[in-house]
Structures are given as C-alpha cells and as structure tokens.
C-alpha cells in the first residue's frame, strides 16, 4: 500500500502479511508513518494506492455490512488512550459494549468486572479516568479495547510515558491476553526493550518503507547498518 498527503508521499510500497496469532511490532523514527500504517490496517484511513485484506477479503471492497463485521473483530488502544473524561472507568468499558452489542445490563456489568479484573484495576471501577495514574489509564484503555473480544488488536505506543516497571507489566498483560485468545497483535513502540519483550517479528519503518528485521534476536544483530544504528540508538551512522 501507499499513502500520500497532497504531493507528499508518506508511505511508499508497504507490503506486510500478518498471520493469525502473531505479535508484530513496528518501530521507526518519529514522523516515519508508523501510526498511519496502523490506522490503514485498522481500516480507519484509506491508502492512496494498494489494498488491505482482512481474513482474505479486500477490506475496502466488501459490502458495508461485512466491513462492519470485520471492524468488530478489531480493537484499538490509542496513543493517548482516548478515554471519556466524563464517564466513570466502568462506563468507559461499557460504552462500546452498549454501542454494538445487544446485551442486558447485568451481562454488561459482568463483562466490565471481568476486564477490570483482567487488567488488575477492579478497585478503580467507580473512579473517573482523571482520578487514576497514567499506568492505570493505559490498563483501562486496554480493558476497553479487549472487552469486545477482538481477534485483531492494534496498540499505538502502549507504554509511552510510563516508567520501566509499569511498562514491563503492561506488555506482560498484552501478551497474557493475546495468548489466552490466540489473537493477532500489531503494536507500535519506540522503546526497543518493550519491542523485544513483545514481538514475534519486528519491522522498522524507514523512508516510507518497511524493513523486516525478524525476531528480537535477529534484530539485535541485524546486518543492515541503518537497523543497528536505530535499535542501539547510536548518534553516528547512516541515518544521521
């Protein structure tokens, strides 16, 4: 796929194939287009050229009813969580359930409890997002994304701004939920330690293109000097 804004080509010829049950991590310099790739994959923006297939179907050509069905299989954690300030934490999780599922209140409450428990914040049920810490807000965002039981989950920088211990726990939680459901995960991060912790396969977005660097082990000792400079954060090298 390709993406241009006006005359500016942001993404040039991105080919990516993700298998069911895989955890993929995208890394790359700020402004390289990582979030745009994620949004294209999630069907939130249309690529200028190219196609996106979900479960073998051309996402932008299927009838809208089918497109909606495919969308419901996807969950997304946004970079800034995008929580509703005016709703309690429980209501934040309940919101999408009410929007798209015809469930009774008792059932919604039981799902809310289950996911608050799963992300480790059952005590924060009746608080509001601005009454809990940044790490807890991330957990709440994850709970909301997971409550619809998605088969494909997109995480846009799930640990940005969190301390290393909280970050490690958030990634552990993402892995735990993914393994339980055997869902497919695509995540963006710029913290290489978190990328190594989470990924089956890592990709770097460089100059509008995608370079697959393989497993964490393969990435750490990659032959491409651009990749090595990036993952080691060296100030000198071909990317400077």
């Amino acid at each position: 796929m390709e993406l241009a804004f006006g005359s500016e080509n942001i993404l040039r010829g991105i080919d990516l194939s993700i298998r069911k049950g895989e955890r993929i991590v995208l890394v790359g310099p700020s402004g390289a287009g990582k979030s745009l790739i994620l949004k294209i994959l999630a069907g939130l923006i249309l690529p200028t050229r190219g196609k996106v297939f979900v479960e073998g179907e051309n996402f932008h050509q299927v009838p809208s009813v089918r497109q909606q069905q495919l969308r419901l299989k996807m969950g997304m954690l946004f970079q800034k969580n995008a929580l509703f300030d005016s709703l309690s934490n429980a209501e934040n999780i309940a919101f999408p359930l009410r929007e798209v599922r015809a469930l009774g209140e008792a059932e919604i409450d039981s799902i809310v409890n289950r996911f608050l428990e799963a992300v480790g914040i059952p005590h924060a049920k009746l608080l509001f997002p601005d009454e809990i810490s940044g790490g807890m807000q991330k957990r709440l965002g994850i709970a909301r994304a997971m409550a619809l039981d998605p088969e494909i989950v997109f995480y846009d920088d799930p640990t940005a701004g969190l301390d290393p211990i909280t970050s490690r726990k958030i990634i552990d939680l993402i892995i735990e939920l993914q393994e339980k459901k055997q869902s497919t995960v695509v995540a963006i991060t710029n913290d290489m330690n978190r990328a190594y912790q989470l990924a089956h396969r890592i990709f770097i977005v460089l100059d509008g293109q995608l370079v697959e660097t393989g497993s964490p082990q393969q990435t750490k000792v990659h032959k491409d000097p651009r990749v090595l400079q990036f993952v080691r954060g060296l100030s000198q090298g071909p990317l400077s």
């Binding site: 700020s30 940005a160 301390d163 211990i165």
Partner: protein, 257 residues
C-alpha cells in the same frame, strides 16, 4: 544550588510528598527517577512555585523560596528554564521568532543583540538553516532541539526537564540526552531531569534520586546506584545493566577473534 528540606505536599487527605530531602550542587546534573504517579512532577511544580509545599523548605541559590509572594517568585522563575515534554513551540512564529520570543518578552537583551543571541542558542543545539521555517515544516526531533534553544537563550542558571525523551525514537533520544549534557556544561547550569530513561541517567547524571510513593528511597552517583540493594532500584536498572553486561561480553569476544 537547590535543596529540598523535609518537603511535604498534601492534596486533601492524600499525602503526595512525605518529607523529601536532597541537595543538588551548582553545576550538577541530577536525575529524578520513580514509578508513574509517585510525585515527581509535583516536586518540580513546587520548585517553580506552581504549587506550594505544606511543610518543609526549598532553597534555591542561597534563598528559601517556598514562602515568597507571587511577585518575589518571578525572580526565581527567571533563573529557572523549563523544558517540557512536548516542544510547545508557537505554530505561527518562525524558528527564529520562537527563540527570540522570550528574550523580547523578558527584555533580556537589547533588540539589536537578539539575532546574535538566537544564533548562539541554535548553534548550541546544532540546528542550522531553518531559522525562517515554521515548526510544522521541520521534523519532531528538530522541534525538540528548537525548544531547548528557546530555553537556553534566556541563560537560566537552572534547567528543568520534564521527561525530555518520552516517546522519542532511540536515535533522537540519544541526541537529546547528549544535548542535555552539552548544554549543562556549556552554559554551566544546574540541571534537574525527571525521566524514565535509565540508560541516560546512568550515562550523564552526577546524581540520581529515586522516589517511591512520596519518599526518597535511594540517592547517589550512577556507580553507587548500580550496586543498590533497594528492590525498586534493582528493578529499574535490571534491563540496562543486563545490556551493559551483554555489550561488554560482545566487545570482549570481538577482541579475542
């Protein structure tokens, strides 16, 4: 240069800072580490007077500042340069005008001397040839540099950084960390950095202060903290120390072959 003495800050019934004491000598770079929500930003806000402590003292440049009037506090703020997490540049002003803004507003130098002062600051952060561009026309990494230039142009005695590298890619992170060190040395500032970047803290800090739930749980030089027995500190540094050991091993292997 900066000293906190038994600082206590409460919000309602919750005590956020529970008696913080430490001292940063003139010219030092100090890092404050701690889990999210442990009071690091509250501490910074107490220093610049956006919050006032309930108990304790804050000494800056030989003066106790926590009970100063708003008017008197302006002088303290003048010697503190703050670098925010986001570049926070003015969209409608060019790079040059962004750096010149504070100089004009605080009438720090005469108009005729402003171009030279702006140029010096941009040189110091290694930004060239974009003076007439607008923030949205330069990369995010470059915007971060310009925001650093804007702060150092005012020649503050104290530089405060609130998570300067959060969300940046590894190369830009290294570049900004190197700049923090360069600028602190070049402008002889005392620097206080709130950060989650353990590697950077070990690389450039003179002193590291670790906060947990409103208390200082450890404090010392990077070498001292590497040997710390405090569980939180060990957890924090675990990955970085493992990486250091790994690189050392690779280097040794490289030498043998």
């Amino acid at each position: 240069m900066i000293e906190f003495k038994n600082l206590v800050k409460r919000f309602g019934t919750r005590t956020i800072l529970k008696g913080i004491s430490f001292k940063i000598e003139e010219g030092q770079i100090a890092f404050i580490l701690g889990t999210s929500g442990t009071g690091k930003s509250v501490l910074l806000k107490n220093l610049v007077g956006l919050l006032r402590p309930d108990e304790g003292e804050i000494w800056v440049d030989g003066r106790e500042i926590s009970k100063l009037s708003e008017q008197e506090y302006l002088e303290v703020r003048k010697i503190c340069g703050m670098v925010f997490q986001q570049p926070a540049l003015f969209d409608s002003l060019s790079v040059f005008e962004n750096v010149a803004f504070g100089l004009r507003k605080h009438r720090i130098v005469e108009e005729a001397l402003i171009p030279q002062r702006v140029q010096e600051a941009l040189d110091a952060v290694h930004v060239k040839g974009v003076e007439q561009k607008f923030p949205q026309q330069i990369s995010y990494g470059m915007q971060k540099r310009v925001s650093l230039a804007r702060t150092v142009a005012l020649r503050p005695k104290i530089l405060l950084f609130d998570e300067p590298t959060t969300g940046l890619d590894p190369i830009t992170t290294t570049a900004i960390n190197e700049l923090i060190q360069e600028l602190s040395r070049q402008y002889k500032t005392t620097s206080l950095v709130v950060s989650h970047d353990m590697k950077c803290a070990l690389d450039i800090a003179d002193q590291i202060i670790v906060l947990d739930q409103g208390n200082v749980v450890d404090l010392g030089t990077p070498e001292q903290l590497k040997k710390s027995q405090v569980p939180l500190v060990k957890d924090f540094l675990e990955e970085v120390l493992a990486q250091e050991a790994q690189s050392a091993l690779e280097e040794a292997k490289g030498r043998r072959s």
